[in-house]
Symmetry: C2
DNA sequence: CCAGCCGTGGCAACAACCTGCCGACGCCGC
DNA sequence: GCGGCGTCGGCAGGTTGTTGCCACGGCTGG
């Protein structure tokens, strides 16, 4: 068995590493008329959004797969991602495409790509370095996954709407996260930022909302997951 | 320039990826009489503690470098690591060596290895996948690093001492972390575990102590760093 | 059996955190 | 200017988290 393909049966192929996913599916992106995509972190599906940044000298340079200009592209991102400093740049790349729609979800989304309702790619867990991915072509399964995606899509809010309210928090997020991460008490943290305690807490609350967290502990976990601390 | 070595000047070599560190230094472990090591996570310096577990089929199998049996081995670990389920197994491997001493630090420690006071290996940040490492041979620098390590060593507590108090919390840690990570309130969490609220909070406090965290947010970050959630 | 030890969990006091409310201030657009 | 709008931050009242204290019960070695 080659080391890249792990399992194949009933229209489901499990592979390890996103490079392998890229190799196997890049050609399908070319004439897909509908691409839907859900991601929890900025680095997910990196190769779908432009040339991947690789340490110099690496032989793994890849480019975004070609796409029909009339393709309908829909993406759902987890809200916390807006807090990442490189988010605006990323969005610029995504929105280059004419028909791209982006929505933001407060809940966690399973990392997914669906092409034309015919192929679904599900990200699995990360073991021994490389993440596993399921490539699914079985029609019934793909339909089921599409339905789940549609539900997530409906419950997510449009980027423009969401973005409007999140400008201020984004400016302060790095500092607030730093202070929280250092275990600084609200009192001191507010002073350090030259804010009132009330406002500082407001910022923290907004942050938690953006991270979809119910408690500060959870916020810590999420922030770390997203690499914000 | 080969893609592995990044910088070389004044007795400092910066390389990327622990495999490269292994290749360059494995022979030095063989006749070192003093090995000191500080680690923040269980996966750090994985190759120094036995064959690395790699996905089947990978060509990267490596073995622990041979060592003199009379070598003095000292290791400092961050306390949170004891919470990892695979900690006991890992310790077994480490303690196989006759003169191994292990201490636990509450504070964060910079990941470091020092061989015989002649070579220091410092882990750097993680960029584009592979972590960077500095291999330092310049005598003055290594001495300075040794001094820092000695300070950390003195302030750390012996494993046996530390371990004695941490038996109970280790049993519950996974469940408590899960509850905290789900944002469950203490009240409900205690009920779910069949504990009094007071005791649950005690567990959380112990957990935070083990993680060296001052706030729950910080604990969340640390827990995530250590891959406990 | 008893004394000592330890984990438990209720109570309480306090610190920290969360939020609704509202007045103050600055910034427009009219 | 002036009314609307939005942000700020104090205050208050509530919830949640943190800790010391102590009584209770189980266990153990004498």
């Amino acid at each position: 068995m080659p080391s890249t393909a792990r399992t194949t049966d009933g229209g489901v192929t499990v592979v390890r590493g996103e490079e392998e996913v890229f190799r196997r599916t890049a050609h399908l992106f070319a004439d897909a008329t509908s691409i839907t995509c859900a991601a929890n972190t900025l680095s997910s599906w990196g190769w779908t959004n432009g040339p991947r940044v690789i340490a110099d000298g690496s032989p793994h340079d890849r480019r975004v797969p070609p796409r029909r200009r009339d393709a309908r592209i829909r993406k759902v991102y987890r809200s916390g991602m807006l807090l990442d400093p490189s988010w605006p740049q990323r969005m610029a790349t995504v929105l280059e495409h004419p028909g791209a729609e982006v929505r933001i979800s407060t809940d966690e989304v399973n990392e997914t790509i669906i092409l034309d309702g015919r192929l679904a790619i599900l990200a699995g867990d990360q073991r021994s370095g490389e993440r596993s991915y399921s490539l699914i072509t079985r029609r019934e399964t793909v339909h089921g996954i599409s339905a789940l995606f549609e539900a997530a899509w409906r419950s997510a809010t449009d980027l423009d709407v969401y973005d409007a309210g999140a400008a201020e928090i984004r400016r302060l997020a790095p500092q607030v996260l730093d202070l929280l991460g250092r275990g600084v008490k609200d009192e001191a943290a507010a002073r350090e930022l030259g804010l009132g305690v009330r406002t500082y807490r407001r910022r923290v609350a907004e942050l938690m909302a953006a991270l979809g967290a119910d408690s500060r502990f959870q916020a810590g976990v999420r922030a770390r997951e997203l690499g914000l601390v």
